[in-house]
């Protein structure tokens, strides 16, 4: 059975003496009916919310990717993003673990470790990480690591939780969003200002993928 919390029962056998093993046999049986949980140690991102707010004023547009069973066999679903040509939007990105009750906002953790994270926007959107031949929109980063805390390591780089998207010509295509987790490796920072350009050039990036989702993009 999937649990949101960690069972204390599993920690009992850490003691390694014969006597404790006898106790362990009993505790393992007792675990069958116990429902005593610890704290959440998981940080699955099952919901990604994109909020497009026209910079010139207007109601924000919210689109989401939702995979309510996480990595279960059921496929996730993403909304269609409808933007208006010629309008500049401020794009806010929010990452949520909706598998817990209440849902856990992972965005705060990304902000807390802004120097280890970077959001890439690509597809039919021209920007630092993407150079399509015909773009429906343009992308620019609108935040810096120092917006979320002290910039302790290297340059003050973008994070991508806040962006500027400008819808250009009418048409339909794809908007793809990637959140890359780039923790230090053996004391060496993996995040650098070159990474969007590396991705645009088709080269592989360090770190691991936290989010990689695609939306149908319609500009009208």
């Amino acid at each position: 059975m999937v649990r949101d919390m960690q069972s204390d029962c599993i920690c009992l056998p850490r003691v390694g003496a014969l006597a404790s093993a006898l106790a362990l046999a009993l505790s393992a049986v007792a675990c069958e009916t116990s429902d005593d949980h610890g704290h959440d140690e998981n940080e699955v991102i099952s919901l990604v919310e994109l909020t497009f707010t026209p910079t010139g004023g207007g109601a924000p547009l919210v689109f989401e990717f939702n995979d309510p069973d996480g990595d279960g066999g059921a496929s996730g679903v993403s909304d269609r993003i409808d933007l208006t040509a010629g309008v500049e939007y401020s794009l806010g990105v929010r990452f949520v673990n909706s598998l817990t009750e209440p849902p856990d906002d992972i965005t705060d953790e990304v902000k807390a470790e802004a120097e280890d994270h970077l959001v890439f926007v690509l597809g039919d959107v021209a920007g630092p990480a993407s150079t399509p031949s015909s773009a429906l929109a343009t992308h620019a980063y609108a935040d810096l690591e120092s917006d979320y805390g002290t910039n302790a390591v290297g340059d003050d780089l973008p994070v991508g939780l806040v962006n500027t998207i400008t819808a250009k010509d009418a048409g339909s295509g794809e908007l793809r969003l990637i959140l890359r987790h780039l923790p230090e490796l053996n004391g060496q920072p993996q995040k650098s200002g070159d990474l969007p350009g590396e991705l645009a050039a088709g080269r592989d990036l360090p770190g691991s993928v936290d989010v990689d989702i695609s939306f149908e993009l319609v500009v009208s």
Partner: protein, 841 residues
């Protein structure tokens, strides 16, 4: 030792020259006149003092150019005449017993010795044994291969899979953590192989292909692999093969004995140590106890071009047991614990599907410049505790036979840690598997049916198992299950023919508890059987009952009367395997691989119809064995890619990108293949040559296509030179070997992330020697692996998608074995300086 002895021992492994089976030996005439000394010896089993017939004695007598080989008669005695005065070295071997070596001073015309060999088999009533109570080996009608003694000592410090990897037909399914792997027997892994540690079924989370079995090879004194179905005796999981680990029996003679050892590796850099102490008091004869433990730690593995960052590991094991042994009854209790921590290679990272594909083509990890070979174990990593508590008993029922009973409790506590944000400290996946198991078997007394003897075992097993899975995502449901079995195996034994018939009936009742998301998701996917699954609370409960039967028919024959060393084995079997919990209910992402895995509660029992045949010649200087096997498996449960409908069709949309979905799907399969091995010890020459080859073919009959993850053809050849023994050293050798692995050309591209890697050849070498002293023996060995530092990847290694395998390395091992017997009333040796020979080889 005279100079002539040096010449003699130069042919230590040169084989038999004279080997009469009679008590009165008649060796070759002495080189010079006046050699008329007589040596008499009696070989007995330590503790029971029972005579050991058929023990082989190799004498290196003064004044002779070749060894004298004799065997003990039925009363364990041997007599050799015509010996010259001087010091004689005697090596004594007997199957199922520790060998012994002693030096006899031939000073008087008549010299006698009493030689004790320690039993390596459990004590048995003579009423339940068909042929030889002391030479009884676990006869298998399947092909089998064992590691013990010096051969096993040369593999100390390695994991179980690597320890067995030298056997023909056995390969390693290597994971992505340092030193971790699963043994593959004839192409079968995990769910289809059973591991038994002192008769206790190893129970762990073996559904994960990167989960190495939590077994301590140090605890074993002998490891045997049965290459073929052992389901009738051992249960449904033994459909592919069985790995038997047997620890040394507790001492039956008052004394203190033990072994300490150390091992050092250059790649991965690290080492460890081990100790085992057995104590049997003089008062309270029959009681004995053991304390044992070992620890090892190593840093990350280094390939020819770069380090496999974060593949360091540390492991420790400890155990104790207390036992009592007598002719009528044995009992014992014990406890073992294993702690293992291992990093997962940084090269294995979650990437986008296109990145993953590019990385398999590029052949080198993307950020390899930052990789280090250090001891630090960071996320991603696995941490494991494994506990075993056991109690066993044997009770002799007079002439009716004897009863064996075993209870074991195991707790497997596995935690897996992903690379996560710093605010998260704990594991992302926790598994707790608790198993209570009972095993009761009755070995009935031997029945004499004219020229045939009938022995047999009637047994019953029961186990109760619960599994707790803790994570935010779905993967494996919690479950509890009860399983039971009854079986009977009868063996008709004739002088040259043994016929084995066995049948087993078993059942399993499993209740799986699915959480809300798990239940609703699987129900929506049509993977839950409405007849066995129902809603319960926010989730659902699935209740399965399986009942199956298995049967075996085996034949072992010695077709040539004059050559009893030649045996022919044939086994036919029909085996059933009950689906494991992941095959019924998996629902989640395979750790760190860009796929989703799903099971189906509709999957039922998998049944195989198989046969195998083995021809073997096991002579004094030559061993040749050829085996062939074939099996048709109906409803073989196979992990197969599925096409999905929807936004990301044919893939599934996930927050980490569109991923393919693999589902456990029944199909019909054929497994076939063969093994060939030989070990030649040139008579009269200090040279040896050994080799092996293995082939496995496996086909998905419904798709008419090869099955995935089947080992490629494998060949191994080794040449050895044996050094002459000296007064202080013996069994010295140097070895050069080569392992050749072909490219797997039988695969389905759509079932794999990348094409199988190219063929490769690895060069290895080894050297070893033993130093003998009073009541002690010291072993020293040096092994070199991949000496040409070849870059290679193995088809059955999960690492092959990300990085190369290890480069060259050296392994240095040293161990000291000691045995101090306490004084007790014993028949004294007459006329020789050796009071009693002890198992010092």
């Amino acid at each position: 030792m005279s100079p002539g002895v040096f010449a003699l021992v130069a042919h230590l492994f040169g084989g038999a020259t004279v080997e009469p089976a009679a008590q009165q030996a008649a060796p070759e005439p002495p080189d010079s006149a006046g050699c008329a000394a007589v040596w008499e010896a009696r070989v007995v089993e330590s503790g029971t003092a029972e005579a050991l017939p058929g023990a082989r004695l190799e004498l290196r007598a003064p004044g002779r150019t070749s060894p004298i080989v004799v065997r003990t008669a039925d009363d364990g005695r041997v007599r050799v005449e015509g010996l010259c005065a001087g010091e004689m070295t005697v090596t004594v071997t007997k199957s199922e017993h520790s060998p012994a070596r002693l030096t006899v001073a031939l000073l008087d015309p008549n010299t006698s010795s009493r030689i004790e060999l320690e039993a390596l088999h459990a004590r048995h009533s003579e009423h339940v044994i068909a042929v030889d109570v002391h030479g009884e080996t676990p006869t298998s009608v399947s092909a089998s291969e064992s590691l013990a003694g010096a051969e096993l000592a040369r593999g100390r410090g390695k994991g179980l899979a690597d320890t067995l990897a030298g056997m023909s037909g056995v390969t390693t399914l290597r994971g992505t953590a340092g030193g971790m792997g699963k043994p593959m027997i004839r192409g079968h892994i995990g769910r289809r192989n059973l591991i038994l540690v002192d008769g206790i079924r190893h129970e762990s989370q073996d559904w994960g292909i990167d989960h190495a079995p939590e077994v301590d090879p140090y605890s074993a004194d002998r490891i045997t692999v049965i290459k073929g179905a052992g389901t009738t005796r051992f249960g449904a999981k033994a459909i592919g093969g069985v790995v038997l680990l047997e620890s040394r029996p507790l001492p039956q003679r008052p004394g203190v004995r033990g072994e300490v050892g150390t091992v050092g590796f250059s790649n991965p850099l690290g080492g460890g140590g081990s100790a085992r102490v057995d104590y049997a008091p003089t008062r309270g004869r029959g009681f004995a106890m053991r304390f044992e433990g070992n620890l090892s730690r190593h840093r990350a593995v280094v390939t020819p071009r770069y380090a496999l960052d974060n593949t360091g590991a540390s492991t420790w094991n400890a155990g104790t047991q207390l036992g009592y042994s007598s002719d009528a009854v044995d009992f014992g209790v014990g406890y073992r614990i294993m702690r293992a921590r291992g990093g997962i290679c940084t090269c294995l990272r979650i990437s986008t599907p296109e990145e993953f594909n590019r990385s398999t083509l590029r052949g080198i990890p993307v950020d390899v410049g930052s990789y280090r070979a250090d001891f630090e174990i960071e996320r991603a990593k696995q941490e494991i505790w494994h506990h075993i508590l056991f109690a066993r008993a044997r009770v002799k029922l007079g002439r009716a036979g004897e009863v064996h009973a075993l209870y074991a409790f195991q707790f497997n506590d596995r935690k897996e840690f992903d690379v996560v944000r710093k605010s998260v400290e704990g594991p992302q996946f926790s598994f707790g598997l608790a198993t209570h198991a009972g095993d009761l078997r009755f070995e009935h007394a031997r029945l004499q049916l004219r020229e045939w003897s009938l022995v047999g075992t009637l047994g019953a097993t029961y186990s109760h198992q619960t599994n707790r899975f803790t994570a935010s995502t779905t993967l494996i449901p919690d479950y509890r299950q009860n399983s039971w079995a009854v079986y009977d195996i009868e063996r008709f034994v004739h002088e040259r023919v043994e016929l084995e018939i066995g049948a087993r009936y078993e059942g399993l009742h499993r209740v799986a508890e699915l959480g809300e998301r798990d239940y609703l998701g699987q129900q929506a996917g049509g993977r839950l059987d409405a007849g066995t699954c129902k809603a319960s609370g926010p989730g659902g409960v699935c209740e399965h009952i399986f009942n199956t039967a298995s049967a075996t028919l085996g034949l072992l024959a010695r077709p040539i009367r004059r050559a009893p060393e030649f045996t022919s084995r044939l086994q036919l079997n029909s085996s059933a395997r009950i689906p494991s919990v992941d095959e019924n209910f998996m629902n989640g992402a395979a750790p760190s691989f860009p796929i989703l895995g799903v099971g189906s509660s509709k999957i039922g029992v998998e049944r195989s119809w198989g046969g195998e045949s083995t021809l073997q010649y096991d002579g004094d200087w030559l061993l040749v064995e050829a085996s062939g096997h074939a099996a048709y498996i109906n409803d073989y449960i196979y992990f197969f890619p599925q096409r999905l409908e929807g936004q990301c069709a044919p893939l599934s949309c996930t927050s980490r990108g569109p991923l393919p979905v693999f589902a456990f799907t029944p199909t019909d399969a054929f497994f076939g293949g063969g093994e060939l091995r030989f070990d030649l010890r040139a008579p009269r020459l200090p040279f040896g040559l050994a080799g092996s080859a293995s082939w496995v073919r496996a086909v998905d009959l419904r798709a008419d296509a090869p099955l995935a993850l089947v080992p490629a053809d494998r060949y191994w050849l080794a040449g050895r030179y044996y050094f002459p023994d000296t007064k202080v050293s013996g069994r010295g050798y140097v070895e050069l070997n080569a392992t050749a692995v072909a490219r797997q050309r039988r695969y389905q591209p759509e079932l794999d992330f990348s094409a199988p890697p190219p063929a490769y050849v690895l060069l290895g070498a080894g050297a070893g020697v033993e130093f003998l002293a009073d009541q002690r023996i010291f072993r020293l060995s040096l092994v070199g692996t991949n000496l040409l530092n070849v870059r290679y990847r193995d088809y059955t290694s999960l690492l092959r998608y990300f990085a190369d395998e290890a480069g060259w390395g050296l392994q240095l091992r040293f161990s000291a074995e000691f045995d101090v017997a306490f004084a007790e009333a014993r028949p004294k040796t007459r006329g020789s300086r050796d009071a009693r020979a002890r198992h010092l080889l």
